[in-house]
Symmetry: C3
Subunit: 342 residues, 3 copies
């Protein structure tokens, strides 16, 4: 798609410094964008790139304008403006409404004419799809599941029975929504499965990454709030609740019945134990373990970063005796007649 | 499904305190169950909920009966009884025998009439399915694989060639059984693949979670024992052996050729290095690293839990010098002419 | 397949000690191989097995030959020779060229006659498949994606639009190539998605494990070099670059825009933060966190290994106070008028 700078200025509420009828037809990074491309400067560390750019136009803040040798679109938040602009240049192929002849649609399902069902899609009994829903090739929607309008389900997604999904929600390939939670009772000799009779409720404007799994509830529902963004390969166990607008990076795992607040940001591969509460506006650094509830907003971490192998091994060996080391320090302090800390 | 309390008492071997012909038609939590719902009390911490419940009936132990204001079903193990009862109220849609016209079944496959094959299921040459096996939409079963009777394979599962699966085993969506193990030899310039000619043997009554991957063996088979329960997104590398009735939580990873005993419980996101042995009845706490064999039953852990960012960063910085710190303490002790610990 | 030892000696450039016309028809481990099986000895720790083997033939180094009671094939690198030999005995079912009638192929796609498309495969507009490409059941290839010749895509793989894959590349089931990167701008109330307009470029001779996800780039491409081997359930975020011949074990996660060098070996479940550079020939031990760039080849680690629960808990409690402990030691040193380390 080709757009004029005037169009962009209007759509992005930007102040244009440059020719209104100049055009751009794609996106580039600040270091590599050419004359046909729009770029942005969000971090002043990259100003040297700005000074040398040959981009068609740059989204930037007012204080950077003097350094810009090409047409500038001045905005308050350049990255947010870029996010909005990016959709004009999306490369995802367009989708047209209609049901591919190979799709298998149960006659009891509700499928408006504006819906697009790709090849081999399977829509089970009683499913309700909202206007404009896109379900791409080889995805399967289980009985009684309801999906709000204008969402997109990429290929090879599986949604089990009895799931509710709000409008404008995107689900990437190989996500699994509504598989059984991991509920078993020990019977003395082995494990007796607990039927997972709850469902999954997902809000509006949610994004679910590739390979992410969200289990159905044991009795009540597992709940994902509005505007939640989930990256790839996240595991959400039964009866977890995630508050509105929280963002979870790839490979996070949340054990059963834990509740995450709103506007939380959970780093990659963080593990959250079961039956915890994490309040609103908590940030967790990548690879941390959360094994207790968190009641205070702020940033938390626990993972040790890498060191060279020899030093790593020596320190790990000492860690095994950290309790003894603390006691030895205490003894030295006592011998000195010193402080009473311990 | 609606059942009488008399029916439940008989099926669960429970002592009924209440009207035999009262009915329940679903499940509820102890905090929220209504008059049509069965609930349970397994943890005395929730007794306040019991005292205020309006459930149709409660599964509980004898000592809690006096606190129960509604019909009670007294059992030895309320959670186990609830697990058994839950299946009367399962919400999973019923499946009927038969082969969907869109399924692609190789003529050399063995498919009894009691089997259910969903839309777009692919059954390759020489596959043998036991009586009553359910293979749901878009799942693929590779050549020569044998699956015991009465199991269920949810949609979009992939099972490669040469896999053997026992009866009554459940496999959730997007699990992959029998992909190549990660076997490569370095050839001086790059990696030469080792053909993975072993298979996978899975026992009876196994549950395999969504997105879990179990690789085929390099030469001999990868083996999952009877009654093993695997949660979502677990990675089982080639030639791993997991003993009967072990339970693995989500995101566990087990590297090649390690052997896990029976009745082990492995917490979420635990990593187990290759070529280890873990004896029976070992519990590993979530996010731990097991890098040596474990020869003694018991509970083991290693992950650090989160702290506030500033304290976390200070402690991590000190960890880098823990070996030096230990040496400094030793020097202080020597200077004092003290103990010989180090 | 049955082959003579003479054939193996010639193909593997081995020195045969034994009858040229003796035959083997499969592979076995050094501890279990029978008279019809080829085995190998790569690690002298297993020499006792060699001395008692009844294998049909053993691949081994010159110095082990005297201990071998059966026909020997002497080579410089027994494991590499075994890797090459293993392909003669591969158990993967053969694939024949042709398009299954249930496959859905867009008329604008390029599909040579040598290609094999399994049941329910979906090939979108403008896709180009090289000679001999195998796409197995229920896999989906998005619009405009190009795949070099002689590769194999196992069942239930999803490749999005605009992906480029080199020749001889293998992709295992449930891998997802080209899903959207996790790019969002905070808009004050929630998250505005950044359209991910970059693609994915994957080199030649790459192996991608089951369930691995490789996201498309935000603006420029995500890049996987030639000869890279990726195990199962790896997450590669947008704009990551992985250098030639690097090997990543299962469950590794790499955050956005990080660059991994060539000939690196990344252990299982390692996490790599975003925007880092890791130079060539770096080894990272399993479950480590890499949160800074690494500029020097070598081996690095960070994860603590398990300990018994009681000791683990005591040491963890002390870790929370490690900074204070260090200060206390410093005070003791000062009181002693000692060293100036801190």
């Amino acid at each position: 798609m080709t757009v004029t700078l005037e169009f962009l200025a209007r759509e992005l509420d930007a102040e244009l410094h440059g020719p209104a009828d100049a055009e751009v037809s794609g996106l580039g990074t600040i270091g590599a964008a050419g004359p046909q491309q729009l770029t942005f400067l969000a971090n002043s560390r990259y100003r040297a790139f700005l000074e040398n750019t040959s981009a068609g136009a740059v989204l930037l803040s007012a204080e950077q304008r003097e350094h810009c040798p090409v047409p500038a679109l001045v905005v308050k938040d350049p990255y947010l403006a870029f996010a909005k602009a990016s959709h004009f240049f999306d490369t995802a192929p367009p989708v047209s409404a209609g049901i591919h002849p190979s799709a298998v649609v149960d006659p009891s399902a509700t499928v408006p004419e504006s819906v697009s069902l790709g090849p081999n899609v399977v829509i089970d009994a009683g499913v309700e799809l909202g206007e404009g829903t896109v379900v791409m090739a080889n995805s399967v929607i289980g009985a009684g599941t309801r999906i709000g309008g204008q969402g997109r389900i990429w290929p090879n997604v599986t949604i089990y029975h009895g799931v509710t999904i709000g409008p404008r929600t995107t689900i990437h390939s190989h996500a699994v929504i509504g598989a059984d939670g991991f509920g078993f009772a020990f019977n003395g000799a082995g494990w007796t499965k607990v039927a997972q009779v709850g469902g999954v409720r997902i809000g509006a404007d949610v994004e679910i990454g590739a390979g992410t799994t969200i289990d159905r509830g044991a009795i009540e529902d597992t709940v994902i709030g509005n505007g939640v963004i989930l990256d790839n390969q996240i595991q959400v166990a039964h009866n977890v609740v995630i508050g509105d607008h929280s963002a979870l990076a790839g490979k996070v795992g949340i054990a059963g019945s834990s509740r995450i607040g709103s506007y939380c940001m959970i780093g990659g591969a963080v593990g959250i134990s079961g039956h915890l509460e994490i309040c609103d506006q908590v940030q967790i650094l990548g690879m941390s373990l959360v094994s207790r509830s968190i009641t205070e907003p702020g940033t938390y971490g626990s993972a040790l970063p890498v060191d060279k192998q020899d030093r790593y091994r020596r320190n790990v060996a000492r860690f095994r005796h950290l309790d003894e080391l603390s006691r030895r320090v205490r003894r030295l302090e006592k011998a000195r007649g010193g402080s009473s800390e311990d």
